[in-house]
């Protein structure tokens, strides 16, 4: 957070650098099932962010000492590839990635029915291919779609977005310059139907009133993102107007011998 109010990030008509109004989301694209090897996957674009998420699991837990006899553990690894940012980032985890991995794991652990898979690990990998602020939000949004795509039982999808403050105004979905020179950054994630908040961080300076406004903007946005997540999964298995009756009658799998 630069907090540098000399940089004009929002003009007198309330228009931001990229033409958006204070309460507008960037263009979002979500695709489910984009990788072949992974059990589940998703690709998400928030404006210029490009994030890929993959899920492997439930599978045997490695390292074994981390096994939990009563449930699965959710291990998320968030990473930014070297050319995702302007100045090349040396490959390998840094402290920021470790922290982001942790908070995303915690959010996902809440929604996954981990008791169904004792002693296993559900591994979630988030790779930021191109970054433009809000990558952890795009990452969590992608990760929850990838989990559903992998057929993992969960309570709900988890949309995520960041709200911020620039030039003393609360704005939705910060892009890069706004994140660098703005006055506050508030990434959040929740289950829209229940209002349960699963991820919340803040840095910068916000009054109570500004915070309340940010929550209002963020909540509205997360409902919209949730609809896009649902749509991505529905499109993956688009039905050609109904299907043959009884052929695929869901029943316990019978077996037949040749």
């Amino acid at each position: 957070m630069g907090g540098n109010s000399n940089v004009k990030l929002i003009d007198d008509n309330g228009i931001r650098m990229d033409g958006r109004k204070a309460d507008e989301l960037r263009q979002i694209k979500i695709e489910a099932g984009v990788l072949k090897r992974a059990d589940g996957s998703a690709y998400v674009e928030f404006g210029k962010n490009k994030v890929l998420a993959a899920v492997y699991g439930p599978r045997e837990c490695h390292p074994r000492h981390m096994q939990d006899p009563s449930k699965a553990i959710v291990q998320c690894k968030y990473n930014m590839i070297s050319f995702s940012v302007e100045d090349r980032k040396r490959p390998g985890p840094d402290r920021r990635s470790v922290e982001i991995s942790k908070i995303i794991s915690e959010a996902l652990e809440y929604v996954v029915f981990t008791e169904n898979f004792p002693r296993t690990s559900i591994d979630v990998y988030i790779e930021v291919l191109q970054a433009n602020a809000g990558t952890r939000c795009a990452g969590l949004t992608a990760a929850s779609v990838a989990l559903a795509d992998a057929g993992i039982p969960m309570k709900d999808l988890v949309p995520s977005v960041a709200v911020g403050k620039v030039n003393d105004q609360v704005v939705l979905d910060l892009q890069k310059e706004e994140d660098n020179f703005g006055q506050a950054d508030l990434p959040m994630a929740m289950i829209p139907r229940t209002g349960e908040v699963l991820l919340l961080q803040m840095d910068g300076h916000l009054t109570r009133a500004e915070f309340d406004l940010a929550v209002e903007l963020g909540t509205g946005a997360m409902h919209k993102i949730y609809a896009l997540q649902r749509d991505a999964l529905a499109r993956r298995y688009a039905v050609e107007g109904g299907s043959e009756e009884s052929e695929d009658e869901p029943q316990t799998a019978q077996r037949t011998e040749g």
């Binding site: 002693r119 709900d156 649902r230 040749g258």
Partner: protein, 233 residues
């Protein structure tokens, strides 16, 4: 209510979708919150005998006692083998559970790493420790042919109602096909015929929701085996 059984809705549901708020009971693939039933899986909503279920569109095979599965030996010890059953849980197979008399340390002579076998799930405990057996009629080491893996959730579609789909493929390609409950399929027959059968099953796996899938599969098999269409399904 009978209608619901005959024509299950093809409605795709997403985790968190409300399935029912009163009359129906929570079946598989669902969870209950505040007296309402929600989807826990990405799948197809299905109502049967007053239960609302979600039939998964993806997901791993979770072993259940009594299932017949196609396993692969991935490790070997002096008195047991470790079997991968295409599930998060590998299953130990003890020398007491095979049809041969195996001396201590002699296990590799009967089955080695990489071998494929037909086994049955004996038991699964609450921490999901699985045991398998081969000590039943029909269970054996499989040799020759080809093996493939499909998404476990597609197994019912590949088998078809009363086995009709897999019988169609077997008949038209003149192959033996065994569909394990764990999503592994073993084929035996002429090499060309096996390739056609595999392609037919891949077609089903990729187009499980398609209208008139049986017809499409039949057309494909007719074109490659150059048979005239026989009876309808």
């Amino acid at each position: 209510m009978n209608r619901e059984n005959e024509h299950p809705s093809r409605e795709i549901v997403i985790p968190g979708d409300l399935l029912d708020s009163g009359k129906l009971k929570a079946g598989s693939g669902t969870y209950v919150q505040d007296g309402k039933v929600y989807a826990a899986l990405l799948g197809i909503k299905s109502v049967k005998s007053n239960f609302v279920n979600v039939i998964p569109l993806g997901g791993r095979y979770i072993p259940s006692p009594g299932d017949t599965v196609i396993g692969k030996v991935i490790d070997i010890g002096p008195s047991n083998w470790l079997i991968d059953i295409n599930s998060p849980y590998p299953a130990p197979l003890h020398v007491n559970e095979v049809p041969w008399r195996v001396d201590f340390g002699d296990t590799a002579r009967f089955m080695n790493v990489g071998d494929t076998l037909l086994a049955k799930i004996l038991m699964v405990d609450e921490t999901m420790r699985v045991q398998v057996t081969m000590k039943e009629q029909g269970l054996r080491k499989l040799q020759g042919g080809q093996v493939m893996e499909i998404s476990y959730s597609k197994v019912p579609r590949v088998i078809g109602k009363g086995g009709s789909m897999v019988q169609l493929i077997k008949g038209m390609t003149n192959t033996r096909i065994f569909v394990g409950q764990n999503g592994r399929i073993w084929f035996d027959g002429e090499i060309e015929s096996i390739l056609f059968a595999i392609r037919a099953i891949k077609m089903i796996e990729e187009n499980a929701q398609m209208l008139h899938l049986t017809e499409r599969v039949k057309e494909y098999l007719e074109s490659v085996t150059k048979q005239e269409g026989a009876s309808s399904g």
